[in-house]
């Protein structure tokens, strides 16, 4: 072959290679973006779906046009079931995003609302989402992209929003995930499965749970509150004002007539002890006060009733569930994976409560879920403080264990 034949040969081989790769990606569709045949043993389980839920969930909204959604972090992604009977609308999609911050939540609400006006939204809030100085924002930065959403932050249609479909076809990462999808089909049923955006996990991802038991998972979670992410907890930084975003979210929901239910996550009491130990309890209380105040002020502005805001974070029968001893890998907790992630069983009770749904086999112990408003907030916070004192006296070892994480 001489040089000029070599130069003619290259584009021919390159085009063939390109076509086969793109065709393969299209067929396997590892992120469930393009639709198309689902073949048993080939691509029926989309095992790569959760590798980038910010992309795949944004696309799923186009395909499923949900009338109701769940917004929140990985807590609600694993805990709030779209097939719960209390929803009374269909379809429901769980649009929660791992490690979401408030801005992302607001943008995904806009996205879903633009594609299909929503009837119901359950918004589950975690304290960490409101930390504007959280360096995790930088981690999310890579997978959170504004231009893939249906509208921009001002609500105007986004011309680039379908870009993902084309770009991912022509991508080496997609090829790797396509191959992964095919090879993982046989073991896929053991892994997490996503149904309408809900992560139906069967076992918890952290391996130590099997060896040191769930208490180790609790400790692993609590430890993260002592790294730098929480050193400067603030609701506002020069580049991010979470209260403003919260207001915009409320305003959008009021104006569009969405039935919004706000939920403060039912995390385990050990997480609240961690917040106390970190020295940011005052911020935690301020957070709830402000959630209530803004909810009411935006409603008043619009001349409408405020949204129901439920606090599940107190000290009650569920949140104080006993944690098995360190090394006890046998005992499985009924309600929790670890301090901040609750199980679907508890999530079902949350939904029962906020939808006022009566399940024949489920009963809610009194004190789980308190509707907050400006009249009861202060007494509510006081009673939590009182309960906290009692809890600390009853569980001195847990308190000491968390205190020891400080160093």
């Amino acid at each position: 072959m001489n040089f000029s034949n070599y130069l003619k040969f290259l584009p021919i081989v390159a085009s063939l290679a390109l076509l086969s790769i793109v065709g393969f990606n299209r067929l396997i569709d590892p992120f469930a973006l393009y639709g198309g045949p689902l073949i048993e043993g080939v691509n029926i389980h989309k095992t790569a779906f959760n590798r980038n839920t910010r992309m795949s969930k944004a696309a799923a909204i186009y395909q499923q046009n949900p009338l109701a959604i769940v917004l929140g972090s990985s807590r609600s992604e694993r805990g709030i079931d779209p097939s719960h009977l209390g929803w009374r609308v269909n379809p429901v999609y769980n649009l929660s995003l791992s490690g979401a911050d408030l801005y992302e939540i607001f943008r995904y609400l806009q996205h879903a609302q633009a594609i299909q006006p929503l009837k119901k939204v359950v918004l589950t809030l975690d304290f960490f989402m409101f930390n504007a100085s959280r360096s995790l924002i930088n981690v999310n930065k890579n997978s959170f992209r504004e231009d893939r959403l249906a509208v921009n932050a001002e609500g105007q249609p986004n011309p680039l929003s379908w870009n993902d479909l084309l770009l991912t076809l022509f991508s080496l990462d997609t090829l790797v995930d396509s191959i992964g999808t095919v090879t993982e089909q046989s073991v896929a049923t053991n892994k997490s499965q996503f149904i309408a955006g809900f992560n139906k996990i069967r076992s918890y991802g952290v391996k130590s749970i099997y060896n040191k038991g769930q208490r180790q998972s609790f400790l692993d979670t609590e430890k993260t509150y002592f790294n730098k992410n929480y050193d400067q907890f603030s609701f506002r930084t020069p580049r991010r004002d979470n209260w403003k975003i919260y207001q915009r979210l409320l305003l959008l929901s009021q104006q569009q007539g969405i039935d919004l239910r706000i939920v403060i996550s039912p995390s385990h009491t050990r997480l609240f002890e961690t917040i106390e130990s970190k020295g940011i309890w005052d911020k935690f209380e301020q957070w709830k006060q402000q959630l209530v105040a803004l909810n009411e002020s935006v409603a008043a502005q619009q001349g409408k009733p405020s949204f129901p805001l439920w606090d599940f974070s107190g000290y009650n029968h569920y949140t104080t569930e006993e944690v098995p001893a360190l090394g006890d890998a046998e005992t499985q907790m009924q309600w929790y994976w670890e301090s901040s992630h609750y199980k679907k069983e508890l999530g079902d009770l949350v939904l029962d409560r906020i939808f006022n749904y009566k399940h024949p086999e489920r009963k809610i112990v009194k004190g789980f879920g308190v509707l907050l408003n400006s009249e009861n907030i202060e007494t509510h916070l006081q009673s939590i403080r009182k309960n906290q004192q009692q809890w600390r006296m009853s569980y001195p070892e847990d308190v000491a264990e968390i205190e020891a994480l400080k160093k």
Partner: protein, 520 residues
């Protein structure tokens, strides 16, 4: 504009190449050069047109000073002109690259509160400053010939080497522009250039970016104060070691390949540095054009090794610390340079003590291992954003955070388990912070694969050796392969190989970036 972008590969490069050869074919060589200069300025201005002016001023100034210095070599009355020229160049670099760093440190030390706006570093300023300082020094020495201004502009701005090197020398470049053969489109150059470019693009996009996802979160976690495990720290440091090499050498390969499509040769910049068995050898293989510059224009003018042993070591240290600072304005870079200065001093001292000893296979292998580990350690300083971040990683790498191994090993050590536990070993998993990528074991796979590639496979220049891909700085440095069939020829097999790696690399430009599960 980056080489690894669709705009560059599918628009800019084909258009510039076509234009250059169409003009050159007509015999309008000056116009063709002007076309290349214009294209290079566009390439530079794509990033931020505001700094185009700065580069042009720098070019005019240095060309003028060069003319003033020309003529009889080393005229004493012209030395002030040289000093003036060098100071202006360094001053410009100092202002744009180091002013913020200097003011921050001044504020820290003296407690003052001088506010200086964040100065944006103009792209490539470090490279074009050095190239032109070399030019001025050589003009004073009388080593430059009568150069045409247009040729000089191209020497500084030629886009393949403009933003990330190789740092070219006027003696290599300028004579090439005067040759007539350059202006004819040759399928030979195109085929060779394209192949080298494809290899470089693959190294950068698939290999470097592929392993980066294992390095970045580890360094980010260290900055956030996460207590890394021993294996996470080493995993992150090793991953970065390979990321940097494949990134930078891939970029150099791309530069060499692109230039070759125009019939221009660039100097070799990387020659399998991780095969080095000493730090001295490493610096003859890593970023060769920079070491060459530092040696010729800093180390030797400082006195080199001509002023006695202790002065030699001092000179080495100064050269390496300034070399470190050249890479970036920060204490981590200064420390990185100092560490390499220290390595080199030990290396030279060792050679003095063990002169004449025979080399054994095991000795060579140990030397390679020690050299490689020393390099991995130094890259931590190079990558970390702060001294605290680096020291967090070092603590874990040197076992100060204990050793955590897999839970599956519980009960596997028999009687030794008690002893291990009492000596700080815990069974919490090799990678329990979840920061060494989403799947740590695939990270281990990547690390091993890239170690094998960089330490045992032939490099781009060896594969392309039959066609003299690059200028050698040290004669004979591109070693002939033992297996001739591995040397590139325009054959079907090589065509298939090149086309496939090119397609994979181009598809790699679209990243479906994964969310890194960072405890939330």
């Amino acid at each position: 504009m980056l080489f690894n972008s669709y705009t560059f590969i599918f628009l800019f490069l084909p258009i510039v190449l076509l234009g250059f050869h169409l003009i050159g074919k007509q015999g309008h060589h000056r116009v063709a050069i002007a076309w290349l200069v214009g294209a290079s300025l566009f390439f530079y201005g794509w990033w931020n047109p505001a700094y185009l002016g700065l580069m042009l001023v720098s070019i005019f100034f240095n060309y003028g000073v060069g003319v003033a210095l020309g003529g009889v070599p080393k005229q004493p009355n012209k030395k002030p002109i040289l000093i003036f020229g060098v100071i202006v160049n360094l001053g410009l670099l100092a202002y744009f690259k180091y002013a913020n760093f200097f003011v921050d440190n001044l504020n820290n030390i003296t407690g003052t509160n001088i506010v200086l706006e964040q100065i944006i570093l103009p792209l490539a300023i470090s490279f074009f400053t050095f190239q032109q300082i070399a030019y001025l020094v050589d003009a004073w020495r009388g080593e430059t010939k009568e150069y045409n201004f247009l040729h000089y502009c191209l020497f500084v701005t030629f886009f393949p080497q403009l933003i990330a090197g190789p740092i070219v020398h006027h003696k290599e470049m300028l004579p090439q522009f005067a040759k007539d053969v350059v202006y004819k489109l040759r399928s030979k150059h195109l085929a060779i250039g394209l192949t080298i470019f494809a290899l470089g693009l693959f190294k950068k996009v698939v290999l470097a970016d592929g392993i980066a996802i294992y390095a970045t979160p580890v360094f980010d976690a260290a900055e956030a104060g996460v207590m890394l495990t021993f294996f996470e720290a080493w995993g992150g440091a090793l991953a970065y070691t390979f990321q940097l090499y494949f990134d930078f050498s891939g970029y150099s390969d791309m530069a060499i390949g692109i230039a070759r499509m125009f019939g221009i040769r660039l100097p070799l910049n990387f020659n399998s540095p991780y095969k080095a068995t000493s730090i001295i050898e490493f610096w003859r293989r890593w970023h060769i054009t920079l070491s060459r510059f530092l040696k010729d224009y800093l180390y030797i003018p400082l006195g080199g090794s001509r002023k006695g042993k202790s002065r030699r070591y001092i000179n080495l240290m100064i050269t390496m610390v300034l070399g470190g600072l050249w890479h970036g304005a920060g204490w981590t870079f200064i420390l990185w340079g100092a560490l390499h200065g220290f390595y080199l001093i030990i290396n030279h001292g060792w050679r003095v003590i063990f002169k004449g000893e025979n080399k054994t296979k095991i000795g060579t292998f140990s030397a390679w291992v020690i050299t490689f580990i020393a390099l991995v350690v130094s890259w931590v300083l190079f990558r970390a954003q702060s001294i605290e971040g680096a020291s967090t990683i070092f603590k874990s790498m040197f076992g100060l955070n204990g050793l955590s191994v897999s839970e599956r090993l519980i009960g596997k050590f028999g009687g030794a388990e008690e002893w291990l536990l009492s000596h700080g070993v815990v069974f919490d998993g090799f990678f329990h912070n979840n920061v060494f990528g989403i799947n740590p074991y695939s990270g281990v796979g990547w690390t091993v694969a890239l170690l094998l590639i960089s330490a045992s496979l032939p490099n781009t220049q060896q594969i392309m050796r039959c066609y003299r891909p690059a200028f050698e700085t040290y004669q004979g440095e591109i070693k002939r392969l033992n297996y001739r069939w591995l040397e590139w020829r325009p054959t079907k097999i090589w065509g298939i190989f090149t086309a496939i790696i090119f397609v994979l690399a181009v598809l790699g430009l679209t990243r479906v970036s994964e969310f890194l599960y960072f405890q939330f």
